[in-house]
């Protein structure tokens, strides 16, 4: 199997993945690029296998779609690293590993002698990547985290939602995804250093800090202007020099939902053509009204009074409400309008562009007697491409492969350890 992965970016590397839901995606990213990622589950399987949704709504640890989504391209062994024998086996695995991913509370692995200092004794070149809510040290190092707490403490939550309601998160786990992606970056930077210098190291990833980039320039707005951007629902406050911000509508109602569209003029590259094209579309339906009379090539929102903006916006609203998401998006793609529909997962799945680029990956799950369509490559590579190497593993599916064939444990010993709850 290792031979086959020569044509992959990370074929030569082995990753031991001890993470829970905070870091599952990190190992998947490395596995997608060809690394041999071994998910080390506790006997009985990862707790995250109990997170829904489930295949055909059957709640079963081998049917968690949540777990499938973040464990494609991994192998699985079961091991209790707290048991003496488990620790011994784990140490042997560390010798052949390049990277260890974990998301225990800070210090937990040290109590098992498997912290960075302990691992270094076993394998000086090892890279240990630790994912925690706030980092390994500091006043919050031992605070309990969760996806929503990451979203909140990063500053992102304050900026999302309607002004007259509490701040909100996206109705889907996000902070953990950001963290896993940043953990993969930190790991790769450490790996690059190791390949040049031979030196391993400890990568300390914070969920709070991983989610923080999403706030875009909100911290800079405070730093430069002493202004806290508030959450404004479907309005974007466009900052202007020497004038109050222009409150521009971002999400507009249309016939069957909402579309995102920010209109502008000469100051924004491409905006003239975008606005003109939508006005022309409105005009085709006899609904452009006074918008026809604007010269969009010189239209400058940086000096536009709010009342005038609101008047223009009202005409656009009337028109948009008569058109569907699909009609508007088709026009947007053809004419270069800065507009997109608020897609649901169904519409994403049916999107023409994703289909045309072969984004979706049909993965066989023989034990379900079915194939499941997964999101595919995050980057298309002309050589050594992203690939589905294997479907997500069943619980301990590779125990035999790794314990017996690779580590040379006897079947009797495996049987003993199984009964003793070690594997």
């Amino acid at each position: 199997m290792r031979e086959k992965r020569k044509e992959s970016l990370l074929g030569p590397y082995r990753v031991l993945d001890l993470t829970d839901e905070k870091g599952l995606l990190c190992g998947k990213i490395l596995g997608d690029l060809g690394a041999d990622v071994i998910k080390v589950e506790k006997p009985g399987g990862d707790a995250a296998r109990n997170i829904g949704p489930f295949y055909k709504d059957i709640p079963h640890p081998e049917k968690s779609l949540y777990w499938f989504a973040f464990n494609l391209n991994k192998r699985s062994i079961t091991l209790n690293i707290e048991a003496g024998d488990g620790r011994d086996i784990f140490r042997r695995l560390v010798r052949s590993a390049d990277i260890l991913l974990e998301s225990f509370p800070p210090g937990y692995l040290d109590t098992l002698g498997l912290g960075y200092e302990g691992l270094k004794q076993i394998n000086p070149k090892i890279i240990l990547t630790s994912i925690t809510p706030f980092g390994q040290t500091g006043p919050y190092a031992h605070y309990e985290g969760s996806d929503i707490v990451g979203w909140a403490t990063s500053g992102m939550m304050h900026l999302c939602g309607n002004p007259d309601r509490p701040p909100v998160q996206i109705t889907a786990q996000q902070a953990y995804c950001h963290t896993s992606a940043h953990a993969a970056v930190g790991t790769m930077i450490a790996l690059h250093h190791r390949e040049v210098s031979g030196e391993g190291q400890h990568v300390d990833v914070s969920i709070q800090e991983s989610t923080l980039p999403c706030i875009m320039h909100a911290a800079e707005v405070w730093d430069m202007m002493g202004f806290n951007i508030p959450r404004l629902g479907d309005i974007f406050p466009s900052s202007r020099a020497g004038l109050p911000p222009l409150f521009m509508r971002v999400h507009w109602p249309c016939k069957d939902g909402q579309v995102t569209w920010l209109f502008g003029g000469a100051a924004v590259a491409g905006a003239v053509a975008s606005t003109k094209a939508l006005v022309e579309m409105a005009n085709r339906y006899g609904m452009a009204m006074e918008l026809k009379d604007y010269d969009w090539t010189t239209f400058d929102a940086s000096t536009l009074p709010q009342e005038e903006y609101d008047r223009i916006a009202a005409i656009f609203t009337q028109f948009l409400e008569t058109r569907t998401k699909a009609e508007l998006y088709k026009e947007a793609v053809e004419k270069g309008i800065f507009l997109s529909p608020l897609n649901t997962a169904k519409e994403v799945s049916e999107n023409d562009q994703l289909a045309a680029r072969g984004f979706w990956e049909k993965v066989e799950h023989p034990e379900l007697g079915d194939a499941i369509t997964y999101p595919g490559a995050f980057v298309k590579l002309s050589q050594a491409p992203w690939k589905v190497w294997r479907r997500p593993p069943r619980i301990g599916e590779h125990n035999e492969e790794i314990y017996v064939k690779e580590l040379g444990l006897s079947r009797e010993k495996v049987l003993l350890l199984k009964q003793a709850g070690v594997i």
Binding site: C160, F227, T260
Partner: protein, 417 residues
């Protein structure tokens, strides 16, 4: 000799545009890579014309929106659409390990600086193209930015309250997903090139990268035909779970209570008021069924305390909680202070101001704040002389021919972003 930074010696030409390309190169620059950001006054990066500016005063070198994406890079002003500019761009590509570009697909082809052209002069180049929807396919020419792609990928629909239209996802959300995937691939590509001698082309669709962050929702639709909708801060199996009002103007704390054991600890923290003994709240299924009322009651309790007080009380009892930080509060956050998240550097025009550190700390090769983001053309002399070995005369000629651009080449436009 001990290396100082993890990526010392890695060389990047950054033809990026707005967010994703520049942020990708930025991450590598924090860790020692030498990055040359190529810009021109004739078509300035829109971020340079976007607020915030120091004291609200606009200027091509005054935007902290631009500096955010470009610290620790060398900046040159070169018009690569002019034949001589293109020649110099090619010399930079000869020097580089990685080329990064983020224009609408087709722009680099027209300039003759696309992957196929570039690999003829540098066969082992690692060449990144990033765009909203990728280099191929019927929507490749899509004109939107991250704001639109955030809706296209499904995030906007999933944000807000079920009884209303979207509550909106702040900003160009998908711009903050693609870079990390790209960096992993770029660094993987460097290792691959080391093993095989081969370069490669990376075609990143920011839309595609973003969709992977909604994989469970996608699989639920693909398998069960279930469509997810926004539901405020509800969590499938935790309650209470959400943002609760605290003392002060628009101040909130997030609390997440998983399981009955944490629920009992939570009740102890808030002093076991009468309502917590309501049998409807005794089990997780009861709390989920009566979640709206539960949230109201929790909010009545939190409203009497500062957000920091609530968080300290909850965390002492092992309950997941955190302040809903405002941008200003991030600068005072004790944990971010401990990690020195904000890195202050002296910018020639803006003065001393804040930059964001990476999200991880490397024990052996820490990142380093080496220099503020460049003014447009700030490092012309360094790059043209030290990297490309040009003479003073050559540079003077290029300036005279306006191939190297200056303030005189700036377009006249207002400022809106």
């Amino acid at each position: 000799m001990k290396r100082k930074h993890a990526l010392d010696g890695v060389k990047i030409v950054d033809f990026g545009w707005i967010g994703v390309g520049p942020m990708t190169a930025r991450e590598l620059a924090w860790h020692g890579a030498t990055v040359v950001r190529v810009e021109t006054h004739r078509r300035p990066d829109p971020l340079r014309m976007g607020a915030p500016f120091r004291e609200g005063k606009p200027g091509i070198d005054r935007s902290a929106f631009f500096t955010l994406a470009n610290p620790n890079k060398y900046g040159i002003s070169l018009d690569i659409a002019m034949p001589k500019g293109k020649e110099i761009a090619q010399r930079l590509i000869q020097w580089a390990d990685i080329v990064a570009e983020g224009y609408v697909p087709g722009v680099m082809d027209k300039l003759g600086l696309d992957y196929e052209s570039v690999r003829k002069i540098k066969p082992d180049i690692i060449y990144l193209s990033t765009s909203q929807q990728g280099q191929t396919g019927p929507h490749a020419q899509f004109q939107g930015v991250g704001l639109q792609t955030t809706s296209l990928a499904g995030f906007t629909h999933l944000t807000g309250w079920p009884d209303r239209g979207t509550g909106g996802v702040w900003g160009a959300y998908t711009d903050f997903i693609a870079p990390w995937y790209i960096i992993v691939c770029l660094l993987g590509a460097l290792l691959y090139r080391k093993r095989t001698g081969k370069g490669l082309h990376l075609d990143n669709s920011q839309f595609e990268a973003a969709v992977t962050f909604l994989a469970p929702a996608i699989l639920d639709y693909n398998v069960n035909r279930r469509v997810w909708n926004r539901r405020g801060n509800q969590h499938p199996y935790a309650a209470p779970h959400g943002a609760f009002p605290c003392r002060g103007a628009d101040r909130w704390c997030a609390i997440a209570v998983f399981g009955d054991e944490k629920w009992r600890a939570f009740c102890d923290v808030i002093g076991n008021p009468e309502w917590t003994r309501d049998p409807r709240f005794a089990t997780i299924s009861g709390r989920k069924e009566n979640e709206e009322e539960l949230n109201r009651l929790v909010g009545e309790w939190t409203a009497d305390f500062a957000a920091e007080e609530v968080v300290a009380m909850m965390q002492t009892a092992g309950i997941s909680a955190g302040v809903v930080n405002k941008p200003s509060e991030l600068f005072e956050d004790p944990q971010l202070k401990h990690r020195q998240h904000f890195q202050f550097m002296e910018h020639p025009v803006i003065g001393r101001h804040a930059y964001h550190a990476p999200a991880y700390r490397l024990s052996a090769t820490p990142f380093e704040a080496r220099m503020a983001a460049p003014c447009l053309g700030q490092h012309n002399e360094y790059v043209f002389k030290k990297i490309l070995g040009m003479t003073d005369d050559e540079i003077a000629n290029l300036l005279a021919e306006r191939v190297i651009t200056t303030d005189a080449d700036l377009p006249e436009v207002g400022v809106v972003l």
